[in-house]
Protein backbone atom coordinates (compact mmCIF):
# COMPACT_ATOMS: atom_id res chain seq x y z
CA UNK A 1 0.00 0.00 0.00
CA UNK A 2 1.14 3.47 -0.80
CA UNK A 3 2.30 5.91 1.83
CA UNK A 4 -0.42 8.44 2.31
CA UNK A 5 1.92 11.21 1.31
CA UNK A 6 1.81 9.77 -2.18
CA UNK A 7 -1.98 9.71 -2.44
CA UNK A 8 -2.89 11.50 -5.65
CA UNK A 9 -6.33 10.13 -6.46
CA UNK A 10 -9.48 9.91 -4.40
CA UNK A 11 -9.36 6.13 -4.87
CA UNK A 12 -6.28 6.13 -2.70
CA UNK A 13 -8.19 7.76 0.09
CA UNK A 14 -11.34 5.74 -0.38
CA UNK A 15 -9.35 2.54 -0.15
CA UNK A 16 -7.75 3.57 3.12
CA UNK A 17 -9.57 1.90 5.98
CA UNK A 18 -8.47 4.39 8.61
CA UNK A 19 -9.43 7.31 6.36
CA UNK A 20 -12.89 5.82 5.94
CA UNK A 21 -13.18 5.40 9.66
CA UNK A 22 -12.19 9.00 10.25
CA UNK A 23 -14.71 10.28 7.75
CA UNK A 24 -17.58 8.11 8.82
CA UNK A 25 -17.24 8.04 12.56
CA UNK A 26 -14.89 10.90 13.32
CA UNK A 27 -12.36 8.52 14.85
CA UNK A 28 -9.06 10.01 13.82
CA UNK A 29 -6.62 7.34 14.90
CA UNK A 30 -3.91 8.23 12.41
CA UNK A 31 -3.83 12.01 12.70
CA UNK A 32 -5.61 12.64 9.46
CA UNK A 33 -6.78 16.09 10.42
CA UNK A 34 -3.31 17.32 11.12
CA UNK A 35 -1.98 15.71 7.99
CA UNK A 36 -4.66 17.31 5.85
CA UNK A 37 -4.00 20.77 7.15
CA UNK A 38 -0.30 20.47 6.34
CA UNK A 39 -0.97 21.04 2.65
CA UNK A 40 -3.82 22.94 0.93
CA UNK A 41 -3.70 20.68 -2.12
CA UNK A 42 -4.28 17.69 0.11
CA UNK A 43 -7.25 19.38 1.66
CA UNK A 44 -8.93 19.59 -1.74
CA UNK A 45 -8.47 15.90 -2.42
CA UNK A 46 -9.53 14.98 1.07
CA UNK A 47 -12.66 17.10 0.69
CA UNK A 48 -13.59 15.36 -2.54
CA UNK A 49 -12.98 11.95 -1.06
CA UNK A 50 -15.20 12.98 1.83
CA UNK A 51 -18.03 13.78 -0.57
CA UNK A 52 -17.67 10.34 -2.12
CA UNK A 53 -17.84 8.61 1.17
CA UNK A 54 -20.83 10.68 2.25
CA UNK A 55 -22.60 9.67 -0.95
CA UNK A 56 -21.76 6.00 -0.49
CA UNK A 57 -23.39 5.31 2.79
CA UNK A 58 -24.35 1.75 3.50
CA UNK A 59 -26.92 1.38 6.26
CA UNK A 60 -25.65 0.00 9.51
CA UNK A 61 -26.14 -3.60 10.30
CA UNK A 62 -28.42 -3.06 13.20
CA UNK A 63 -29.37 -6.65 13.74
CA UNK A 64 -30.52 -7.30 17.26
CA UNK A 65 -28.57 -9.64 19.45
CA UNK A 66 -31.64 -11.84 19.84
CA UNK A 67 -32.06 -12.22 16.12
CA UNK A 68 -28.40 -13.04 15.75
CA UNK A 69 -28.58 -15.67 18.46
CA UNK A 70 -31.69 -17.18 16.94
CA UNK A 71 -29.92 -17.41 13.59
CA UNK A 72 -26.91 -19.03 15.21
CA UNK A 73 -29.10 -21.54 16.96
CA UNK A 74 -30.94 -22.51 13.83
CA UNK A 75 -27.58 -22.91 12.09
CA UNK A 76 -26.43 -25.30 14.80
CA UNK A 77 -29.62 -27.27 14.24
CA UNK A 78 -28.91 -27.42 10.54
CA UNK A 79 -25.40 -28.61 11.31
CA UNK A 80 -26.71 -31.37 13.52
CA UNK A 81 -29.10 -32.54 10.83
CA UNK A 82 -26.41 -32.50 8.15
CA UNK A 83 -23.98 -34.34 10.39
CA UNK A 84 -26.52 -37.05 11.08
CA UNK A 85 -27.07 -37.45 7.38
CA UNK A 86 -23.37 -37.67 6.70
CA UNK A 87 -23.02 -40.19 9.53
CA UNK A 88 -25.49 -42.38 7.69
CA UNK A 89 -23.42 -41.96 4.59
CA UNK A 90 -20.33 -42.78 6.56
CA UNK A 91 -21.96 -45.94 7.84
CA UNK A 92 -22.75 -46.95 4.31
CA UNK A 93 -19.19 -46.25 3.32
CA UNK A 94 -17.92 -48.25 6.27
CA UNK A 95 -20.22 -51.08 5.36
CA UNK A 96 -18.90 -50.86 1.84
CA UNK A 97 -15.34 -51.06 3.05
CA UNK A 98 -16.10 -54.28 4.88
CA UNK A 99 -14.54 -56.99 2.78
CA UNK A 100 -17.43 -59.43 2.59
CA UNK A 101 -19.94 -56.78 1.46
CA UNK A 102 -17.66 -55.89 -1.38
CA UNK A 103 -17.17 -59.54 -2.22
CA UNK A 104 -20.90 -60.11 -2.40
CA UNK A 105 -21.34 -57.00 -4.51
CA UNK A 106 -18.55 -58.14 -6.82
CA UNK A 107 -20.13 -61.56 -7.17
CA UNK A 108 -23.50 -59.98 -7.88
CA UNK A 109 -22.09 -57.63 -10.47
CA UNK A 110 -20.13 -60.44 -12.07
CA UNK A 111 -23.18 -62.65 -12.07
CA UNK A 112 -25.42 -60.08 -13.66
CA UNK A 113 -22.75 -59.25 -16.18
CA UNK A 114 -22.27 -62.84 -17.20
CA UNK A 115 -26.02 -63.34 -17.56
CA UNK A 116 -26.08 -60.31 -19.78
CA UNK A 117 -23.12 -61.47 -21.85
CA UNK A 118 -24.55 -64.96 -22.03
CA UNK A 119 -27.88 -63.67 -23.28
CA UNK A 120 -26.32 -61.45 -25.86
CA UNK A 121 -23.45 -63.50 -27.22
CA UNK A 122 -24.07 -67.14 -26.41
CA UNK A 123 -27.76 -66.99 -26.71
CA UNK A 124 -28.17 -70.01 -28.97
CA UNK A 125 -29.22 -72.13 -26.04
CA UNK A 126 -31.77 -69.66 -24.86
CA UNK A 127 -33.12 -69.39 -28.38
CA UNK A 128 -33.31 -73.13 -28.39
CA UNK A 129 -35.55 -73.11 -25.42
CA UNK A 130 -38.13 -71.03 -27.16
CA UNK A 131 -39.22 -74.04 -29.21
CA UNK A 132 -38.91 -76.37 -26.24
CA UNK A 133 -40.73 -73.97 -23.97
CA UNK A 134 -43.64 -73.57 -26.30
CA UNK A 135 -43.87 -77.27 -26.99
CA UNK A 136 -43.59 -78.23 -23.34
CA UNK A 137 -46.20 -75.71 -22.35
CA UNK A 138 -48.57 -77.06 -24.93
CA UNK A 139 -47.88 -80.70 -24.20
CA UNK A 140 -51.28 -81.28 -22.62
CA UNK A 141 -52.96 -80.82 -25.96
CA UNK A 142 -51.44 -84.07 -27.13
CA UNK A 143 -48.86 -82.80 -29.54
CA UNK A 144 -47.01 -85.15 -31.81
CA UNK A 145 -43.40 -84.46 -32.49
CA UNK A 146 -41.47 -85.42 -35.57
CA UNK A 147 -37.70 -85.19 -35.29
CA UNK A 148 -35.57 -85.65 -38.36
CA UNK A 149 -32.19 -87.02 -37.28
CA UNK A 150 -31.44 -88.57 -40.66
CA UNK A 151 -29.57 -86.86 -43.43
CA UNK A 152 -32.52 -86.87 -45.80
CA UNK A 153 -35.68 -84.79 -45.74
CA UNK A 154 -38.74 -86.41 -44.21
CA UNK A 155 -42.35 -85.91 -45.18
CA UNK A 156 -44.87 -85.21 -42.45
CA UNK A 157 -48.55 -85.30 -43.26
CA UNK A 158 -50.89 -83.39 -41.04
CA UNK A 159 -54.48 -84.22 -40.18
CA UNK A 160 -55.83 -81.50 -42.44
CA UNK A 161 -54.03 -82.90 -45.48
CA UNK A 162 -51.18 -80.41 -45.39
CA UNK A 163 -47.73 -81.77 -45.92
CA UNK A 164 -44.49 -80.65 -44.40
CA UNK A 165 -41.12 -81.61 -45.77
CA UNK A 166 -38.89 -81.61 -42.74
CA UNK A 167 -35.20 -81.08 -43.41
CA UNK A 168 -32.43 -82.86 -41.47
CA UNK A 169 -31.79 -81.75 -37.89
CA UNK A 170 -35.21 -80.20 -37.68
CA UNK A 171 -38.26 -80.96 -35.62
CA UNK A 172 -41.92 -80.22 -35.90
CA UNK A 173 -44.61 -80.39 -33.26
CA UNK A 174 -48.19 -80.64 -34.37
CA UNK A 175 -51.49 -81.81 -32.93
CA UNK A 176 -52.81 -85.16 -33.93
CA UNK A 177 -56.04 -83.51 -34.98
CA UNK A 178 -56.50 -79.79 -35.47
CA UNK A 179 -59.22 -78.52 -33.19
CA UNK A 180 -60.58 -75.02 -32.72
CA UNK A 181 -60.47 -72.22 -35.22
CA UNK A 182 -56.74 -72.27 -35.79
CA UNK A 183 -54.15 -74.71 -36.96
CA UNK A 184 -50.97 -74.28 -34.97
CA UNK A 185 -47.69 -76.08 -35.52
CA UNK A 186 -44.24 -75.49 -34.04
CA UNK A 187 -41.02 -75.71 -35.96
CA UNK A 188 -37.39 -75.76 -35.04
CA UNK A 189 -35.15 -76.06 -38.03
CA UNK A 190 -36.09 -75.99 -41.68
CA UNK A 191 -39.18 -77.21 -43.45
CA UNK A 192 -41.15 -76.71 -46.61
CA UNK A 193 -44.84 -76.36 -46.00
CA UNK A 194 -47.67 -77.09 -48.38
CA UNK A 195 -50.85 -76.14 -46.67
CA UNK A 196 -54.28 -77.32 -47.68
CA UNK A 197 -56.64 -74.42 -48.27
CA UNK A 198 -59.09 -73.63 -45.51
CA UNK A 199 -59.85 -69.92 -45.05
CA UNK A 200 -61.96 -70.62 -41.97
CA UNK A 201 -59.06 -72.20 -40.15
CA UNK A 202 -55.91 -70.19 -40.68
CA UNK A 203 -52.67 -72.07 -40.33
CA UNK A 204 -49.93 -70.74 -38.03
CA UNK A 205 -46.33 -71.82 -37.99
CA UNK A 206 -44.45 -70.81 -34.84
CA UNK A 207 -40.75 -70.81 -35.55
CA UNK A 208 -38.37 -69.26 -33.02
CA UNK A 209 -39.62 -65.74 -32.46
CA UNK A 210 -41.86 -65.42 -35.45
CA UNK A 211 -45.29 -66.59 -36.45
CA UNK A 212 -46.24 -67.18 -40.05
CA UNK A 213 -49.91 -67.10 -40.88
CA UNK A 214 -51.21 -68.78 -43.98
CA UNK A 215 -54.47 -69.76 -45.51
CA UNK A 216 -53.34 -72.13 -48.19
CA UNK A 217 -50.01 -71.96 -49.86
CA UNK A 218 -46.53 -73.41 -49.99
CA UNK A 219 -43.53 -71.86 -48.37
CA UNK A 220 -40.34 -72.69 -46.61
CA UNK A 221 -39.26 -71.71 -43.13
CA UNK A 222 -35.72 -71.96 -41.93
CA UNK A 223 -35.57 -71.45 -38.18
CA UNK A 224 -32.69 -73.36 -36.66
CA UNK A 225 -32.36 -72.75 -32.98
CA UNK A 226 -28.66 -72.01 -33.23
CA UNK A 227 -28.83 -69.62 -36.15
CA UNK A 228 -29.13 -65.90 -35.74
CA UNK A 229 -31.72 -65.45 -38.46
CA UNK A 230 -35.09 -66.91 -39.30
CA UNK A 231 -35.99 -67.09 -42.97
CA UNK A 232 -39.34 -67.47 -44.65
CA UNK A 233 -39.57 -68.01 -48.38
CA UNK A 234 -42.87 -68.14 -50.20
CA UNK A 235 -43.44 -70.24 -53.26
CA UNK A 236 -47.14 -69.89 -53.88
CA UNK A 237 -49.98 -68.01 -52.27
CA UNK A 238 -49.65 -65.41 -49.59
CA UNK A 239 -48.37 -65.50 -46.02
CA UNK A 240 -48.29 -63.03 -43.17
CA UNK A 241 -45.42 -62.98 -40.67
CA UNK A 242 -45.46 -61.50 -37.19
CA UNK A 243 -43.11 -61.77 -34.28
CA UNK A 244 -44.31 -63.65 -31.22
CA UNK A 245 -43.71 -60.49 -29.27
CA UNK A 246 -45.96 -58.48 -31.56
CA UNK A 247 -48.72 -61.04 -31.08
CA UNK A 248 -48.38 -60.91 -27.34
CA UNK A 249 -48.57 -57.12 -27.47
CA UNK A 250 -51.36 -57.45 -30.04
CA UNK A 251 -49.41 -55.07 -32.20
CA UNK A 252 -50.34 -54.72 -35.84
CA UNK A 253 -46.85 -54.98 -37.17
CA UNK A 254 -46.82 -57.76 -39.73
CA UNK A 255 -45.10 -58.48 -43.01
CA UNK A 256 -47.01 -59.79 -46.01
CA UNK A 257 -45.10 -62.04 -48.39
CA UNK A 258 -46.09 -62.95 -51.92
CA UNK A 259 -44.69 -65.74 -54.10
CA UNK A 260 -40.95 -65.62 -54.56
CA UNK A 261 -40.59 -63.09 -51.81
CA UNK A 262 -38.67 -63.88 -48.71
CA UNK A 263 -38.06 -62.46 -45.29
CA UNK A 264 -35.17 -62.54 -42.93
CA UNK A 265 -35.82 -61.97 -39.24
CA UNK A 266 -32.81 -60.92 -37.19
CA UNK A 267 -33.34 -62.51 -33.81
CA UNK A 268 -30.94 -60.36 -31.87
CA UNK A 269 -32.75 -57.09 -32.50
CA UNK A 270 -36.12 -58.54 -33.53
CA UNK A 271 -36.21 -56.83 -36.89
CA UNK A 272 -37.63 -57.94 -40.20
CA UNK A 273 -35.84 -57.61 -43.50
CA UNK A 274 -38.10 -58.23 -46.46
CA UNK A 275 -36.47 -59.53 -49.61
CA UNK A 276 -38.67 -58.84 -52.59
CA UNK A 277 -36.38 -60.42 -55.14
CA UNK A 278 -34.92 -63.67 -53.89
CA UNK A 279 -32.56 -63.98 -56.84
CA UNK A 280 -30.78 -60.90 -55.51
CA UNK A 281 -30.14 -62.49 -52.15
CA UNK A 282 -27.42 -65.05 -52.55
CA UNK A 283 -27.77 -66.84 -49.26
CA UNK A 284 -31.46 -67.49 -49.80
CA UNK A 285 -31.41 -68.29 -53.50
CA UNK A 286 -28.47 -70.67 -53.11
CA UNK A 287 -30.29 -72.63 -50.44
CA UNK A 288 -33.43 -73.13 -52.47
CA UNK A 289 -34.18 -76.81 -52.17
CA UNK A 290 -35.02 -79.09 -55.05
CA UNK A 291 -38.71 -79.20 -54.18
CA UNK A 292 -38.99 -75.52 -54.76
CA UNK A 293 -37.27 -75.74 -58.10
CA UNK A 294 -39.14 -78.73 -59.43
CA UNK A 295 -42.08 -77.96 -61.58
CA UNK A 296 -45.35 -79.68 -60.87
CA UNK A 297 -46.89 -78.51 -64.10
CA UNK A 298 -47.34 -81.66 -66.12
CA UNK A 299 -48.51 -81.74 -69.72
CA UNK A 300 -49.06 -85.20 -71.18
CA UNK A 301 -46.43 -86.76 -68.98
CA UNK A 302 -46.23 -90.48 -68.12
CA UNK A 303 -47.48 -91.22 -64.61
CA UNK A 304 -44.21 -92.95 -63.76
CA UNK A 305 -42.42 -89.71 -64.54
CA UNK A 306 -44.75 -87.76 -62.26
CA UNK A 307 -44.14 -90.24 -59.44
CA UNK A 308 -40.41 -89.86 -59.94
CA UNK A 309 -40.71 -86.12 -59.58
CA UNK A 310 -42.69 -86.55 -56.39
CA UNK A 311 -40.18 -89.05 -55.02
CA UNK A 312 -37.43 -86.60 -55.68
CA UNK A 313 -39.29 -83.66 -54.24
CA UNK A 314 -40.51 -85.26 -51.05
CA UNK A 315 -37.84 -87.91 -50.50
CA UNK A 316 -40.46 -90.60 -50.50
CA UNK A 317 -40.66 -93.96 -52.19
CA UNK A 318 -43.65 -94.65 -54.35
CA UNK A 319 -44.59 -98.17 -55.10
CA UNK A 320 -46.95 -98.45 -58.04
CA UNK A 321 -48.07 -101.16 -60.46
CA UNK A 322 -45.72 -100.31 -63.32
CA UNK A 323 -47.31 -102.47 -65.97
CA UNK A 324 -50.84 -101.24 -65.37
CA UNK A 325 -49.80 -97.64 -65.47
CA UNK A 326 -47.25 -97.86 -68.21
CA UNK A 327 -49.36 -96.16 -70.83
CA UNK A 328 -50.99 -93.59 -68.63
CA UNK A 329 -50.23 -89.96 -69.43
CA UNK A 330 -51.51 -87.04 -67.41
CA UNK A 331 -51.91 -83.31 -67.86
CA UNK A 332 -52.27 -81.59 -64.51
CA UNK A 333 -51.08 -78.74 -62.33
CA UNK A 334 -49.99 -79.81 -58.85
CA UNK A 335 -47.85 -76.85 -57.88
CA UNK A 336 -50.01 -75.51 -55.14
CA UNK A 337 -51.07 -78.75 -53.50
CA UNK A 338 -49.81 -80.60 -50.48
CA UNK A 339 -48.54 -84.12 -51.05
CA UNK A 340 -51.73 -86.00 -50.09
CA UNK A 341 -53.67 -83.67 -52.34
CA UNK A 342 -51.26 -84.31 -55.18
CA UNK A 343 -51.62 -88.03 -54.77
CA UNK A 344 -55.38 -87.77 -54.54
CA UNK A 345 -55.52 -85.71 -57.74
CA UNK A 346 -53.28 -88.18 -59.55
CA UNK A 347 -55.34 -91.15 -58.41
CA UNK A 348 -58.52 -89.40 -59.47
CA UNK A 349 -57.03 -88.56 -62.85
CA UNK A 350 -55.98 -92.16 -63.38
CA UNK A 351 -59.50 -93.18 -62.49
CA UNK A 352 -60.67 -96.74 -62.16
CA UNK A 353 -60.99 -96.41 -58.36
CA UNK A 354 -57.29 -95.92 -57.99
CA UNK A 355 -56.16 -95.07 -54.46
CA UNK A 356 -53.03 -94.66 -52.40
CA UNK A 357 -51.82 -95.51 -48.91
CA UNK A 358 -49.10 -93.68 -47.10
CA UNK A 359 -46.94 -95.09 -44.36
CA UNK A 360 -44.14 -92.76 -43.41
CA UNK A 361 -41.94 -92.35 -46.41
CA UNK A 362 -43.57 -95.27 -48.12
CA UNK A 363 -46.40 -94.60 -50.54
CA UNK A 364 -48.25 -97.36 -52.28
CA UNK A 365 -50.50 -96.75 -55.25
CA UNK A 366 -53.25 -99.23 -55.85
CA UNK A 367 -54.52 -99.16 -59.42
CA UNK A 368 -55.76 -101.35 -62.18
CA UNK A 369 -54.64 -99.09 -64.97
CA UNK A 370 -56.05 -95.89 -66.37
CA UNK A 371 -59.19 -95.18 -68.27
Amino acid sequence: MKERNQYREIEDFLADESFRLWMRSKKDLSGWEEWTLEHPKRAKLVEEARLWLLAMKVPDNNMSQEKLNAALQSTWMKIEKTEQESKMELKLIQLWSTAWVRKIAAVLVFGLLSVYVYNNYFASKTYYSSYDEIVNNLDEDGLLEQINNSNKPQIVTLSDGSSVLLQPKSKLSYPKIFTGNERNVYLSGEAFFEISKNPKKPFFVHANEIVTKVVGTSFRIKAYANQSNVEVLVRTGKVKVKSEKAIRNSSQEEIVLLPNQALRFTRKDQTFDKITDITMDKSISSSVKSIEQLSFEFTDIPVSQIFKTIEQAYSVEIDFPQQELEKCHLTTSLSDQPLPEKLKIICKSIGNNSSYTMNGNQITILSKGCN
Binding site: L14, E17, L21, L51, L54, A55, N61, L68, T75
Partner: protein, 202 residues
Protein backbone atom coordinates in the same frame (compact mmCIF):
# COMPACT_ATOMS: atom_id res chain seq x y z
CA UNK B 1 -0.22 1.61 12.62
CA UNK B 2 -2.46 3.10 10.03
CA UNK B 3 -4.49 0.01 9.34
CA UNK B 4 -4.56 -1.12 12.89
CA UNK B 5 -8.27 -1.80 13.04
CA UNK B 6 -8.34 -3.73 9.82
CA UNK B 7 -5.23 -5.69 10.63
CA UNK B 8 -6.45 -6.53 14.07
CA UNK B 9 -9.57 -7.90 12.54
CA UNK B 10 -7.68 -9.98 10.05
CA UNK B 11 -5.34 -11.48 12.58
CA UNK B 12 -8.25 -12.22 14.80
CA UNK B 13 -10.10 -13.80 11.90
CA UNK B 14 -7.18 -16.04 11.06
CA UNK B 15 -6.92 -17.24 14.63
CA UNK B 16 -10.64 -17.87 14.90
CA UNK B 17 -10.54 -19.68 11.59
CA UNK B 18 -7.77 -21.97 12.77
CA UNK B 19 -9.56 -22.66 16.04
CA UNK B 20 -12.79 -23.29 14.23
CA UNK B 21 -11.06 -25.73 11.92
CA UNK B 22 -9.72 -27.51 14.96
CA UNK B 23 -13.30 -27.99 16.12
CA UNK B 24 -13.77 -25.07 18.48
CA UNK B 25 -17.48 -24.29 18.55
CA UNK B 26 -16.91 -20.98 20.29
CA UNK B 27 -14.68 -19.74 17.51
CA UNK B 28 -17.33 -20.74 15.01
CA UNK B 29 -20.00 -18.84 16.95
CA UNK B 30 -17.81 -15.76 17.15
CA UNK B 31 -17.20 -15.78 13.42
CA UNK B 32 -20.88 -16.29 12.85
CA UNK B 33 -21.86 -13.34 15.00
CA UNK B 34 -19.19 -11.17 13.44
CA UNK B 35 -20.23 -11.72 9.85
CA UNK B 36 -23.80 -12.94 9.79
CA UNK B 37 -25.45 -9.54 9.50
CA UNK B 38 -22.99 -8.38 6.83
CA UNK B 39 -23.72 -11.44 4.78
CA UNK B 40 -27.45 -11.02 5.20
CA UNK B 41 -27.17 -7.46 3.97
CA UNK B 42 -25.05 -8.51 1.03
CA UNK B 43 -27.42 -11.35 0.20
CA UNK B 44 -30.47 -9.14 0.46
CA UNK B 45 -29.04 -6.88 -2.18
CA UNK B 46 -29.57 -9.68 -4.71
CA UNK B 47 -33.04 -10.74 -3.81
CA UNK B 48 -36.10 -9.46 -2.05
CA UNK B 49 -36.77 -12.90 -0.53
CA UNK B 50 -35.09 -12.31 2.79
CA UNK B 51 -36.11 -15.66 4.24
CA UNK B 52 -34.34 -17.50 1.50
CA UNK B 53 -31.28 -15.35 2.03
CA UNK B 54 -31.26 -16.19 5.73
CA UNK B 55 -31.43 -19.87 4.86
CA UNK B 56 -28.72 -19.42 2.33
CA UNK B 57 -26.30 -17.68 4.72
CA UNK B 58 -27.00 -20.25 7.44
CA UNK B 59 -26.34 -23.03 4.95
CA UNK B 60 -23.00 -21.43 4.11
CA UNK B 61 -22.04 -21.54 7.78
CA UNK B 62 -23.38 -25.07 8.10
CA UNK B 63 -21.19 -26.25 5.26
CA UNK B 64 -18.19 -24.47 6.72
CA UNK B 65 -18.60 -26.32 10.01
CA UNK B 66 -19.44 -29.70 8.50
CA UNK B 67 -16.61 -29.59 5.98
CA UNK B 68 -14.18 -27.64 8.14
CA UNK B 69 -11.53 -30.30 7.77
CA UNK B 70 -11.27 -29.87 4.05
CA UNK B 71 -11.18 -26.05 4.08
CA UNK B 72 -8.05 -24.08 3.31
CA UNK B 73 -5.99 -22.88 6.25
CA UNK B 74 -5.27 -19.48 4.84
CA UNK B 75 -8.33 -17.58 3.80
CA UNK B 76 -9.39 -13.99 4.16
CA UNK B 77 -12.50 -14.92 6.08
CA UNK B 78 -14.65 -11.98 5.06
CA UNK B 79 -13.90 -12.31 1.35
CA UNK B 80 -14.36 -16.07 1.56
CA UNK B 81 -17.74 -15.75 3.23
CA UNK B 82 -18.96 -13.10 0.81
CA UNK B 83 -17.91 -15.26 -2.09
CA UNK B 84 -19.61 -18.34 -0.63
CA UNK B 85 -22.85 -16.47 -0.12
CA UNK B 86 -22.79 -15.08 -3.64
CA UNK B 87 -22.06 -18.48 -5.19
CA UNK B 88 -24.83 -20.07 -3.21
CA UNK B 89 -27.34 -17.46 -4.30
CA UNK B 90 -26.32 -17.99 -7.91
CA UNK B 91 -26.79 -21.73 -7.50
CA UNK B 92 -30.12 -21.27 -5.75
CA UNK B 93 -31.28 -19.00 -8.50
CA UNK B 94 -30.33 -21.45 -11.20
CA UNK B 95 -32.38 -24.07 -9.44
CA UNK B 96 -35.28 -21.94 -8.43
CA UNK B 97 -36.85 -19.92 -11.20
CA UNK B 98 -39.25 -18.19 -8.82
CA UNK B 99 -36.33 -16.77 -6.91
CA UNK B 100 -35.53 -14.25 -9.57
CA UNK B 101 -35.80 -14.43 -13.30
CA UNK B 102 -32.27 -14.38 -14.61
CA UNK B 103 -30.85 -15.64 -17.85
CA UNK B 104 -27.28 -16.59 -17.13
CA UNK B 105 -25.23 -17.79 -14.23
CA UNK B 106 -23.67 -14.48 -13.39
CA UNK B 107 -26.81 -12.53 -13.98
CA UNK B 108 -27.82 -12.09 -10.38
CA UNK B 109 -28.12 -8.35 -10.12
CA UNK B 110 -26.83 -6.23 -7.28
CA UNK B 111 -29.94 -4.26 -6.41
CA UNK B 112 -28.46 -2.31 -3.53
CA UNK B 113 -28.66 1.50 -3.39
CA UNK B 114 -26.14 3.68 -1.60
CA UNK B 115 -27.65 6.28 0.65
CA UNK B 116 -26.47 9.68 1.84
CA UNK B 117 -24.74 10.24 5.15
CA UNK B 118 -27.01 13.12 6.19
CA UNK B 119 -25.83 13.35 9.75
CA UNK B 120 -22.33 14.32 8.73
CA UNK B 121 -23.42 17.08 6.38
CA UNK B 122 -23.92 20.51 7.80
CA UNK B 123 -24.00 22.88 4.83
CA UNK B 124 -26.29 22.97 1.85
CA UNK B 125 -23.59 23.16 -0.77
CA UNK B 126 -22.10 19.91 0.41
CA UNK B 127 -25.57 18.39 0.66
CA UNK B 128 -26.27 19.30 -2.97
CA UNK B 129 -22.96 17.90 -4.16
CA UNK B 130 -23.35 14.68 -2.19
CA UNK B 131 -26.93 14.17 -3.32
CA UNK B 132 -25.86 14.54 -6.90
CA UNK B 133 -22.92 12.20 -6.51
CA UNK B 134 -25.15 9.69 -4.78
CA UNK B 135 -27.58 9.77 -7.69
CA UNK B 136 -24.76 9.14 -10.15
CA UNK B 137 -23.47 6.26 -8.06
CA UNK B 138 -26.82 4.59 -7.89
CA UNK B 139 -27.38 4.56 -11.62
CA UNK B 140 -24.10 2.75 -12.26
CA UNK B 141 -24.30 -0.73 -13.80
CA UNK B 142 -24.99 -3.32 -11.11
CA UNK B 143 -21.60 -4.97 -11.29
CA UNK B 144 -19.69 -1.71 -11.02
CA UNK B 145 -21.80 -0.79 -8.03
CA UNK B 146 -21.14 -4.18 -6.47
CA UNK B 147 -17.42 -3.77 -6.99
CA UNK B 148 -17.50 -0.36 -5.30
CA UNK B 149 -19.51 -1.80 -2.42
CA UNK B 150 -17.07 -4.61 -1.87
CA UNK B 151 -14.08 -2.31 -2.19
CA UNK B 152 -15.11 0.68 -0.11
CA UNK B 153 -17.58 -0.83 2.28
CA UNK B 154 -16.10 -4.23 2.99
CA UNK B 155 -12.54 -3.15 2.28
CA UNK B 156 -11.75 -6.06 0.00
CA UNK B 157 -8.78 -5.67 -2.30
CA UNK B 158 -9.02 -6.09 -6.05
CA UNK B 159 -7.89 -9.70 -5.90
CA UNK B 160 -10.56 -10.60 -3.39
CA UNK B 161 -13.22 -8.75 -5.37
CA UNK B 162 -12.22 -10.71 -8.45
CA UNK B 163 -12.65 -13.88 -6.40
CA UNK B 164 -16.09 -12.92 -5.15
CA UNK B 165 -17.36 -11.81 -8.55
CA UNK B 166 -15.77 -14.83 -10.20
CA UNK B 167 -13.80 -12.78 -12.75
CA UNK B 168 -10.09 -12.25 -13.31
CA UNK B 169 -8.04 -9.52 -11.65
CA UNK B 170 -8.05 -7.28 -14.72
CA UNK B 171 -11.83 -7.36 -15.07
CA UNK B 172 -12.33 -6.53 -11.41
CA UNK B 173 -9.88 -3.67 -11.70
CA UNK B 174 -11.66 -2.39 -14.79
CA UNK B 175 -15.02 -2.51 -13.05
CA UNK B 176 -13.75 -0.30 -10.24
CA UNK B 177 -11.81 2.03 -12.48
CA UNK B 178 -14.60 2.54 -14.96
CA UNK B 179 -17.09 3.30 -12.20
CA UNK B 180 -14.90 6.06 -10.78
CA UNK B 181 -13.86 7.55 -14.09
CA UNK B 182 -17.39 7.71 -15.42
CA UNK B 183 -18.76 9.34 -12.36
CA UNK B 184 -15.99 11.83 -12.03
CA UNK B 185 -16.35 12.89 -15.65
CA UNK B 186 -20.04 13.53 -15.31
CA UNK B 187 -19.78 15.02 -11.90
CA UNK B 188 -17.06 17.54 -12.85
CA UNK B 189 -19.17 18.82 -15.76
CA UNK B 190 -22.24 19.19 -13.64
CA UNK B 191 -20.33 20.68 -10.76
CA UNK B 192 -19.17 23.60 -12.90
CA UNK B 193 -22.79 24.26 -13.81
CA UNK B 194 -23.84 24.03 -10.19
CA UNK B 195 -21.15 26.47 -9.08
CA UNK B 196 -22.13 28.95 -11.78
CA UNK B 197 -25.73 28.80 -10.69
CA UNK B 198 -24.73 29.30 -7.08
CA UNK B 199 -22.50 32.26 -7.93
CA UNK B 200 -25.31 33.83 -9.85
CA UNK B 201 -27.70 33.29 -6.99
CA UNK B 202 -25.37 34.90 -4.51
Amino acid sequence: MKNQILNNDVVDDCELWAEMKAGDEKAFSTLFKRYYSYLIQYGNSFSPHSEKIQDCVQDVFTDIWVYRNSLSDTVVVKAYLLSCVRKRIVRLQQRDKVFNKAKSVDAIAFLFDFSVEHQLISDELTAGKVAHLNKLLNVLPARQKEALYLRYHHGLNVDQIAGVLNVNYQSANNLLHRALVNIRKEWKGNMALLLMLLAHWI
